[in-house]
Amino acid sequence: MAEKVLMKGNEAIAEAAIRAGCMHYFGYPITPQTEIAAYMAKRMPKIGGVFLQAESEIAAINMVYGVAGTGFRVMTSSSSPGISLKGEGISYLAGADLPALIVNVQRGGPGLGGIQPSQSDYFQATRGLGHGDFHLIVMAPASVQEMADMTAKCFDLSDKYRVPAMILADGTLGQMMEPVVLPEPTEYKPDKPWAVTGTNCERKHNIINSLYLKPEELEKTNFERFERYKAIEENEPLWEEFMMDDAEICVAAFGIAARVSKNAIMAAREKGIKVGMIRPITLWPFPKKPFKAAADKCKAFISVELSMGQMIEDVQLATECKVPVTLCNRAGGMIPSPEEVLEAIERAAGGNK
């Protein structure tokens, strides 16, 4: 029988990770994601898992690299500035084709920025979190329940494709409390023939590495990896459509911005404006298909973001610039209010209608 509990988004990620068989957590505290580390610190010793507060974010991500190489499920979490520090290690994970979960509970930036919620790491997460040609699988939850569900999903996808996965949340989702039904605990038994687990002198050594002496070889690994990316782009995009059936205006929003937008859309509907929303659930792969389809019937798109406008570029690309895409945004830790989103919808509808 599934139990319902009241949890913070951060705690839901931590508990869901444990239930997905992740017994190794390495991190370093930073607001607004510290509850993930605090929860792991309490729970891991009780279940024979590993919680380790590393000396820095850089150390933590390299510990993740080590455990991932042995085939076990492993994760780290941080908030924006800390994720930047992990950038090098994440590139190494991608280069060595290691599955792992990285959680970014975003806060305002750039620089040290602030501790209030933000979505301004969208480019970083979807374009290249580190050097070299690579992608992460990036999922964007919009509720505490999804924080839990997507944690399990990220581990599964990451293992399936040998691509590191990221949950891109924000401070509000990390801190807010909602009822959540936790997934049933699973015991994870690694089945990864490539993992470094000891040979018993019975097979060739497995090597976890991202260094290639010959450029031809390195090129080959890039080509092979991009075949997997292609498969992910074909098979894994996820999105939610809300009131899109007869929509003439389409709001694009993910995470907390989508929740604010939902309330604005319902208010606009009461005023007779035909507006709906496409909420990307995977940010990479970006759900291009629904946007392309909506571009044929909608007269305008509004990208609602807690940033200076980052996802808007993916919306423009996916809609092939057929119709105008405007931005409704706040930045630096501020959140667009339902009223601000409603105004943007009314403007797109042309005056009051």
């Binding site: 319902k4 509990v5 602030g114 009822p179 936790l182 939902k262 319902m266």
Partner: protein, 222 residues
């Protein structure tokens, strides 16, 4: 009614909501009230979010200078001493979660003990995953007591699952609250719930206290 009422417990157990509602209640029965936010742990969703309502009611709010700002500076203002030194007013203290949050209370504890007119309330929500049993709640209780240097004197059962809470959800936790009372030796002085849920609980449980919960911008309507 004690002059100082302090709410502490596991983080996320509902201390802030209860503190704000309790302060409003004291004011409504004619008491002069100060409410103080002593939480140095939680970055968001603080007593200060209710500032307008508290000010409208004529309740003085003392809160850390950097609450709801962009920095994490766990500093308490000097005027916080008013809550334990100005004995002409009732004080409601909202303590940060767990032992980590309760350390901040330590420096005020000598004043509280000296005056000896306080209720130190442990807020329990048995739907929080790390305190689903009386034994787990007792563990948190003891950790908080050590950090604060102050023994609890009462328990409030604030078991809820957020906006989805049904009266039944609260009723099923009553035996756990009683068990916590038994193993800690402290009375359950009230059961708290959102106003509508509370109406339905009145016939079932003694001493129910209604909570008006703050609407948040991300609560989805309908």
């Amino acid at each position: 009614m004690k002059r100082v009422t302090l709410f502490a417990g596991h983080y996320g157990s509902g201390k802030t909501n209860i503190a704000v509602n309790f302060a409003l209640y004291l004011k409504s029965i004619g008491k002069d009230v100060i409410i103080a936010d002593m939480d140095i742990v939680n970055p968001y969703f603080r007593t200060k979010d209710s500032m307008t309502e508290l000010e409208k009611a004529g309740i003085e709010l003392i809160s850390p200078q950097f609450a709801n700002s962009n920095v994490d500076l766990p500093a308490l203002p000097q005027e916080m001493y008013k809550t334990v030194q100005d004995k002409s007013k009732y004080s409601v203290l909202d303590i940060g979660g767990d032992d980590r949050g309760a350390y901040a209370l330590g420096r005020y504890t000598p004043y509280i003990l000296e005056e000896n007119d306080y209720e130190f309330v442990f807020v329990a929500n048995f739907y929080r995953p790390l305190t689903t049993t009386a034994a787990e709640a007792l563990e948190v209780m003891r950790e908080v007591e050590v950090a604060a240097g102050l023994k609890f004197t009462a328990i409030v059962n604030n078991s809820n699952v957020g906006n989805d809470t049904e009266p039944e959800d609260v009723l099923t936790t009553v035996p756990k609250a009683e068990e916590l009372s038994r193993i800690s030796g402290l009375p359950v002085i009230m059961t708290t719930a959102e106003t509508k849920v509370c109406e339905q609980l009145k016939t079932e449980i003694d001493n129910v206290f209604p909570l008006k919960l703050q609407k948040k911008y991300f609560d989805i309507k309908g």
